[in-house]
Amino acid sequence: MKLITAIIKPFKLDDVREALTQLGIQGLTISEVRGFGRQKGQTEIYRGAEYYVSLVAKVKIEVAISDSLVPEVLEAITNAARTGRIGDGKIMVTPLEHIIRIRTGESGEGAL
């Protein structure tokens, strides 16, 4: 099992969710986060004055999947979240040791 963590542009969330749903993903977790990457923040202009916003608003998606789904999920997120402009985000894959579904007590892949 793997935990896929994707940091994406907020307005791309619906596209990514739709792409993952089409793959049969049963659930995911969304957080509104702020941070920076190579973009090092962004500049906004108000009345001609430039304000440097060092932490940019992003959305973090976390989804737990079986190992077999990893390539498809990575491709789906990459395609759905890509604009081609700086700040499209990152996808991280981490090994998942154990999962428990609280309601039924199921564990492991059965809890996905």
Binding site: R47, G48, A49, Y51, Y52
Partner: protein, 423 residues
């Protein structure tokens, strides 16, 4: 006893309420939307507090110093605490007010003095409230209260007397200011610039993100300012008449053309027409037309709006950045600069028949003579305002201090000055 006109009085009562609305909530929201979240309450309460303090100053001494007959430099002290107001009433009826009674050129109005002085009070409120935009996010509230008292007495009241009282010396030069381009906007804008320079920049200026927290507030505030400005300008006709109608029309045209002017320039210069830009342009147009509202035709208003919007855009977006002062919310960049543009253009675009009277059959006509009078007035107001504001700021700074500490500034004025915050 001269009778009052019910129609004129009704319009002036309405105008007074509209001008109060410009400050609370108009200016309060306009400014509060442009500051950071931790300074929203303090920014709004600055306008509200000034509304309270300036009203009392006007009652205690400001009105007497500005509008009672005295010397050409300052009014008298006979009307302190509005002394004598009760003498006008006979059998429950008030008589019409005579401005400059006892002077060489008294003006008999068609409204009671109570209405005239409350209308003028609303102007004395918005002027210091405009200044708060220059030192937003770093001023000590106690210092602001003291500044409001001193500035109202030492700067606003004398300039109002010079320009608007029949025995004022600037009025004698032939300069005109229909609704307060010099008295309110140049005065407040220049004072704002002096304050911004003397108090210093905000911590993190040009380094940290000081961007507006909620421009929706600013848009609502600007819209309230626009509507209230009909009271400001059309009310300055002091009657429900054709000149008030024309002032309302020129106000609308200048606001619209100011908004369009700023929007187009910004679109070209920064690649996007911003919400803050469009509303700033409209306010610039409104400031520009203020001295001219009852003196120019609609075509003149169009030019004033276009030019004010463009010049204020240049001042705020280009000049301020290059010069490096922190006039946080552009009290000078919009009110000071727009007021100067409007006052000068009044001398160019004034159409005589609008202001012609039996005593002055030609009226105020745009031309070199009038332009010189206008420029002289602007210069005098700037000099007086710079000197007196600097003295006031210096004295307050040396006694109780003008500015909060660095830590208080970083924590925000809402908590440190008022012990409250937005949840």
């Amino acid at each position: 006893m001269q009778a009052v006109s019910a129609g004129d009085t009704a319009w002036m009562l309405t105008s007074t309420a509209l001008v109060i609305m410009m400050t609370i909530p108009g200016l309060a929201l306009f400014y509060a939307g442009m500051v950071r979240r931790k300074n929203v309450l303090s920014t709004m309460v600055q306008s509200f507090g000034i509304c309270c303090i300036a009203s009392l100053i006007w009652m205690i001494c400001g009105y007497s110093l500005a509008f009672s007959t005295g010397t050409s430099w300052i009014g008298g002290t006979t009307r302190f605490f509005l002394n004598g107001l009760a003498d006008h009433f006979h059998n429950g009826l008030d008589s019409a007010f005579v401005l400059g009674e006892g002077s060489a050129e008294p003006v008999t109005m068609t409204i009671p003095e109570s209405v005239f002085l409350t209308f003028q009070m609303s102007f004395s409120i918005i002027a210091p409230a405009i200044i708060t935009g220059a030192f937003a996010e770093r001023i000590k509230f106690s210092a602001l209260c003291l500044f409001t008292v001193l500035w109202g007495i030492l700067v606003y009241a004398p300039v109002a007397h010079w320009v608007w009282s029949p025995d004022g010396w600037i009025a004698g030069l032939g300069a005109v200011d229909f609704a307060g381009g010099t008295v309110v906007h140049i005065n407040a804008g220049i004072a704002g610039l002096v304050c911004a320079i003397m108090i210093g920049k905000r911590t993190g200026f040009k380094r940290k993100d000081l961007s507006p927290h909620n421009l929706a507030y600013a848009i609502i505030g600007a819209a309230l300012l626009w509507v209230g400005w009909f009271g400001f300008n059309a009310g300055s006709a002091f009657g429900a008449n054709g000149r008030a109608g024309l002032a309302m029309l020129t106000t609308q045209i200048a606001a619209a053309s100011g908004g369009v002017s700023w929007m187009l320039l910004e679109w070209w210069y920064n690649k996007k027409p911003t919400a803050l830009g469009i509303i700033s342009g409209a306010v610039s147009g409104l400031v520009g037309i203020t001295p001219a509202a009852g003196f120019v035709l609609p075509s003149g208003a169009l030019w004033i709006g276009l030019i004010s919007g463009a010049v204020c855009f240049g001042s705020v977006s280009i000049a301020k950045r290059k010069l490096g002062y922190d006039d946080s919310l552009d009290a000078f960049g919009i009110h000071g600069v727009g007021g100067i543009v409007g006052a000068v253009l009044t001398g160019v675009l004034a159409y005589g028949p609008l202001s012609a009277t039996k005593a002055n059959p030609e009226g105020t006509i745009g031309g070199l003579k009038q332009l010189i009078s206008q420029v002289e007035t602007v210069g005098v107001v700037i000099i007086w305002c710079v000197v007196m504001t600097a003295v006031i700021v210096f004295c307050i700074d040396r006694t109780i201090g003008m500015r909060v500490t660095r830590d208080e500034e970083l924590e925000g004025l809402d908590m440190t000055q008022h012990g409250e915050r937005l949840n």
